[in-house]
């Protein structure tokens, strides 16, 4: 299938791998500027309080402190969603969670900044706080935000078809409550921002602002900075250095990004703020704790007749992406299978905890866990094979789902078949030794949102390409490489279209002064949208080259073929059979086609030392006159001579047909294309301790076309691994709004030792609108892992786990309950009543001394002072 391509579909090492693996690559915290100050933030020690007074004079007087910024310095509100402008970089009147941002010290060094934090006097008036969304929803007074009655950020009530009739027609109905506890991204790189203000050379006043930040969304950051600082966007430059993982945690503006800029403006010096690991946990924006009351009806043959879901999300203190999250939970409930009747009631609730936001698989993961678990239960009840019940409910694409989502390519059936085959499902399921089991589940995800979160008609991605006289190709893209391979994908697409080697292509990305607008790396949109924009930009420059080359070669533009670093006349040369000998063309093992003579001249970034080379080639051409073939450089030079410069622009906006229905909330869910996944997990359960071991996961993913299979496999494996963390060990544990495990020792992501063997299986449905048929591959797999493990546990020991993560004690409690033995009362989850016990390793100590007193109701904090 990929034999027509020279770079697409090949296993290619990431173009930025060398810098990352050698340590030469620069992340934001690696940067420094002359005269740079260190910024440190004072956080709220209370979950909900009015700030009556803030006095920074003692801190300001401390030697080495340059300035202390407070809410007064930039009081404008902002938020990632236009409907959710409820945050301030630094609080002015109220704090809403333990960790909320109160003030920022900019000092000569970190120790001084830390000491100064303790000298800031804040007088708080404590307010009743809400930690449980179901209680918060009933509140009448002391609201977290005055304009949100009952602390409900947003609720939606959608009905498609006739659910009541659907349930009436069902032969079996299952109904249960599922809970997925709160998880966070835990990206390796903590958030970091460096902000510097130039002094205007004419007026001597502060001029342009440059911000280097660890972000997935440089353009949104530029936009919010402009809003809060009241500076025109043209005066703000956002640059994204290397980013060490985002997973959604950097897909919106995080307070430190604005605070650093406020401090830089106030001090007129560069200021860098890097969060500690604990601060990263408080900044959060992870996946909300979600309560799902789910009801599903099926016919005896397994056909689904209706689904009803009531979803409550514990969103934390600010809106963040919350409105989108709660809508995704409903919209994507109905787009994996053919469900004729759906009722969805979604509530996004505010509580006095750090805000939840977007996290890998945004909005879909927890609901998918519930749905796939319930489907498994129904299959068991009907005595239908769980793989078969899924096959009986497939969509028939091309189609539009009942909630208005257009589906064109649909590799789900093949995904199911492949994991069934590879796992030996048919002869192994239900027949393994005691305590060992297999489970299957499916999932899907958008390839970018068809409607952008900002209300604007501009394209979602725009890309510029410029080609130099020596054949060096520079691609300018706003797409943010965050480790997912965006730069590599961009280089691959440009090189494939232009028929040049990958080493010629240099990607300049995510610098708002240089690169056109791209709305960022989230919702798995980059390959589909920025990829399409790159493809179009490359086609545009290619057209210009072709025009000039055709003139030189005395042939029609249509007759030209670009590949292997040359332009061929397809009539005279059988391109497929081989290339003229001078070319010594390539496509080596790793898919880098090697242009003649450029092997040692090309650098990783793709620049070709071309001066001498070009001179000699030109000479050759002049001597030999018109011919059937030109090298890429020759063709480029001809085009530049002809057009004056060689540049092209391409952009992508989702087509109107993909943009969904018209009802309230219809904007979230639609995507130009959806990815599909099916997984089988094999686990063992220790029936005496409740420990679960995942041995192997077979994970099939329909990514349309794998532009770079090794990268797709990496994303599938990473998704499974992250899903397994949420399934088994990861959980944010709270006590009165205080996070009990704000560190990587007690927030337990699986380590390499726990990682099962993952067999990634790529399914290619070739989407009609994706670049070369590609769709997303970075998020969709995650959601299947959790229910696949839950269903495997059921197969192994016959218990149905409805609360994630399936910690040893929840598993043991379920086993005990099943055996009707000693029943452990664990339904409310873990209640850590003695927090001082886990202070020992990076526990909740970080704000110690930074607030005037402890949160009075927490006994742990009282004893600590003793």
């Amino acid at each position: 299938m990929t034999k027509d391509f020279s770079i697409i579909g090949k296993r290619i090492a990431m173009v930025d791998a060398a810098g990352k693996t050698s340590g030469a690559g620069k992340y934001t915290d690696d940067l420094s500027l002359p005269g740079m100050l260190v910024g440190k933030i004072l956080h709220s020690p209370y979950p909900h309080a009015r700030m009556k007074r803030i006095d920074t004079t003692r801190a300001e007087k401390l030697d080495g402190v340059v300035a202390v910024a407070t809410g007064k310095d930039a009081p404008n509100t902002y938020g990632i969603l236009p409907v959710g402008h409820d945050e301030r970089a630094l609080a002015v009147d109220k704090v809403r969670y333990v960790g909320d941002n109160v003030a920022c010290v900019a000092a000569l060094d970190e120790a001084t900044a830390d000491r100064a934090l303790e000298l800031i006097d804040v007088e708080y008036e404590l307010l009743p706080a809400y930690f449980d969304p179901e209680k918060a929803m009933k509140a009448e007074t002391d609201l977290i935000h005055d304009n949100k009655p009952h602390n409900i950020e947003k609720d939606y009530h959608h009905v498609f078809g006739d659910p009541e009739k659907g349930f009436a027609e069902a032969d079996h109905v299952a109904e249960a409550r599922f809970i997925a506890n709160e998880v966070t991204h835990a990206a390796m790189e903590p958030h970091s921002t460096l902000a510097a203000l130039e002094i205007d050379s004419q007026t001597g006043k502060p001029g342009r602002l440059t911000v280097w930040s660890s972000t997935q969304v440089p353009y949104y950051l530029q936009h919010k900075l402009s809003l809060v600082l009241e500076m025109p966007m043209s005066q703000i430059r956002v640059i994204k250095p290397l980013v060490g993982g985002g997973f959604g945690g950097k897909s919106e503006v995080i307070p430190l990004e604005i605070i650093a800029a406020i401090a830089a403006r106030k001090t007129r010096a560069p200021v860098k703020i890097t969060y500690t690991r604990e601060e990263v946990f408080w900044a959060h924006r992870g996946r909300p704790r979600t309560i799902i009351d789910l009801k599903t009806g099926v016919k005896n043959d397994g056909r689904i007749t209706a689904v009803k879901a009531r979803v409550v999300q514990d969103g934390g203190a600010y809106c963040s992406y919350g409105v989108v999250t709660i809508l995704y939970s409903g919209a994507l409930l109905g787009a994996l299978y053919d469900i004729p009747n759906i009722q969805y009631d979604g509530y996004r609730v505010l509580t006095n905890k750090p805000a939840c936001g977007a996290m890998r698989g945004h909005g879909t993961v927890n609901v998918r866990f519930a749905f796939e678990s319930q489907l498994d239960e129904l299959a068991a009840k009907l005595e239908v094979d769980p793989a078969v019940i899924r096959r009986r409910n497939l969509l028939q694409p091309p189609c539009v789902t009942i909630n208005g989502l257009r589906v064109q390519s649909y590799g789900l059936p093949e995904c199911i078949d492949r994991v069934v085959e590879r796992s030996g499902w048919k002869h192994r399921k239900g027949k393994l030794t005691r305590g060992r089991g297999l489970g299957i589940a499916c999932s899907h995800y958008v390839s970018g949102a068809a409607n952008s979160i900002i209300r604007s008609d501009m394209p979602h991605s725009t890309v510029n390409i410029k080609i130099d006289r020596d054949g060096g190709v520079v691609v300018y893209t706003g797409a943010a490489e965050i480790g997912q391979g965006s730069d590599t994908m961009t280089a691959q697409i440009a090189a494939e279209v232009l028929g040049c080697s990958l080493s010629r292509v240099k990607v300049v990305a995510a610098d708002t002064d240089l690169t056109p607008i791209d709305i960022g790396s989230y919702s798995s949109r980059v390959t589909f949208m920025a990829g399409n924009a790159t493809l179009r930009a490359a086609e545009e420059v290619k057209k210009q080259i072709a025009l000039a080359a055709a003139k030189k070669m005395n042939c029609a533009v249509e007759e030209l073929v670009f590949r292997d670093d040359g332009v061929f006349n397809s009539k005279s040369i059988n391109v497929g059979a081989g290339v003229p000998p001078v070319q010594a063309p390539g496509g080596d093992e790793r898919g880098r086609s090697s242009p003649h003579r450029s092997q040692d001249q090309a650098s990783v970034s793709g620049r070709v030392e071309g001066q001498i080379l070009r001179g000699s080639l030109q000479q050759q051409r002049n001597e030999e006159g018109p011919k059937d073939f030109m090298t890429f450089e020759e063709a480029v030079v001809a085009a530049i001579d002809f057009h004056g410069a060689l540049a092209g622009t391409g952009s992508y906006a989702p087509p109107p047909e993909a943009r969904g229905g018209k009802f309230k909330g219809a904007g979230v869910g639609p995507s130009p294309a959806y990815s599909y996944s099916a997984q089988v997990a094999e686990v063992t359960v220790d029936e005496d301790t409740g420990e679960v071991i995942v041995h192997k996961v077979w994970a099939a993913h329909d990514c349309g076309r794998a532009l770079n299979p090794v990268s797709v496999e990496g994303q599938i494996i990473g998704s499974v691994w992250m899903g397994m963390g949420q399934a088994l060990t990861e959980e944010m544990v709270w006590k009165d709004g205080l996070l009990m495990n704000p560190g990587l020792l007690e927030y337990r992501s699986p380590s390499s030792v726990e990682s099962p063997e993952v067999e990634p299986i790529i399914v290619e449905s070739i989407d009609p609108e994706g670049p070369f048929g590609a769709k997303e591959c970075s998020e969709g797999s995650l959601a299947a892992t959790i229910p696949a493990i839950a269903n495997a546990i059921y197969d192994a020991v016959g218990i149905r786990l409805r609360e994630a993560p399936f910690t040893p004690e929840r598993v043991l409690a379920a086993l005990r309950a099943k055996k009707n033995a000693k029943l452990l009362d664990l339904t409310e989850g873990i209640d850590p009543t003695a927090p001082e016990r886990f202070r020992e390793h990076g526990g909740a100590l970080w704000f110690k001394g930074k607030g005037p007193e402890r949160h009075a109701s927490d006994p742990a904090r009282r004893t600590e002072q003793a």
């Binding site: 120790a111 830390d114 500690t276 604990e278 005496d688 301790t689 409740g690 420990e691 060990t729 544990v733 009990m740 495990n741 020792l745 007690e746 337990r748 699986p750 380590s751 030792v753 726990e754 910690t807 040893p808 004690e809 043991l812 409690a813 005990r816 000693k822 452990l824 009362d825 664990l826 873990i830 209640d831 850590p832 009543t833 003695a834 927090p835 016990r837 886990f838 202070r839 020992e840 390793h841 990076g842 526990g843 100590l845 970080w846 704000f847 110690k848 001394g849 930074k850």
Partner: protein
Amino acid sequence: MYLRPKTLNEAVDALVEPGAQVLAGGTDFYPALGERWISTPVVDITTIKEIKGIAREKNEFRIGGGTTWTEILRTPLPRCFDALKSAAREIGGVQIQNRGTVAGNLCNASPAADSVPPLLALDAQVELVSTSGLRRVPLAAFIVGNRKTLRTAGEILTAVIVPHAVENASSAFLKLGARRYLVISIAMVAAVVAVDERRRVHDARIAVGSCSVRAQRLSALEPALIGAPVGAGLGAIAMPEHLEPLTPIDDVRGTAAYRHDTALTLVRRALDLCAGSC
């Protein structure tokens, strides 16, 4: 003040400074600081040779307080130390094992300190040295509570002393955590079982950690095992009532009920492991 003395004498002299703290591998010391900066004098004992290494002496084994977990793992030792070695292998990860020391683990006295159950089961004593001399204290008495020991401010834990008595006994250590490595124990158990020539238990020591403010020997279970034939079923002798002295708590790692329940499972399994290797 930061000092890195080369000898024990210099170190104890330096510790006379009021508020001075001992720094060994730092793997408990620094996390305990949280975000605070060091505000006390620090005596770094990592370069003192006298308190490192393991020696077999006439009546006892002597494990230097400054011995790291990696060093313990790499030293050939009699079977009764198998449990201690298993604990060493599961303390943090390899980096932590390279830095962390025996004395640090004992002086920090976390209820979840993994080396305490194996050393309790070996009837270990600790040796403490200060400017006023040397004293020995049984480990069972040394740790008095959660992060509380009998160590006085001027004392350095120079060695852990293990009698030869059960040298050839088999031993086992089991740790339950929510992750294989880099995890603090929800519960852990060490067992040492010695058999006579009739293959009956003549000495048994079982200690449980993370299930009370300090790890404990199960004094009701130990005598119940004496005389039992060694083989499959040894573990089944352990009954819930043998674990009654445990007082586990609810915390971020697990609930009290879960700890109680699984401690019994671990005790049974540890005994069966010992029986299997007798």
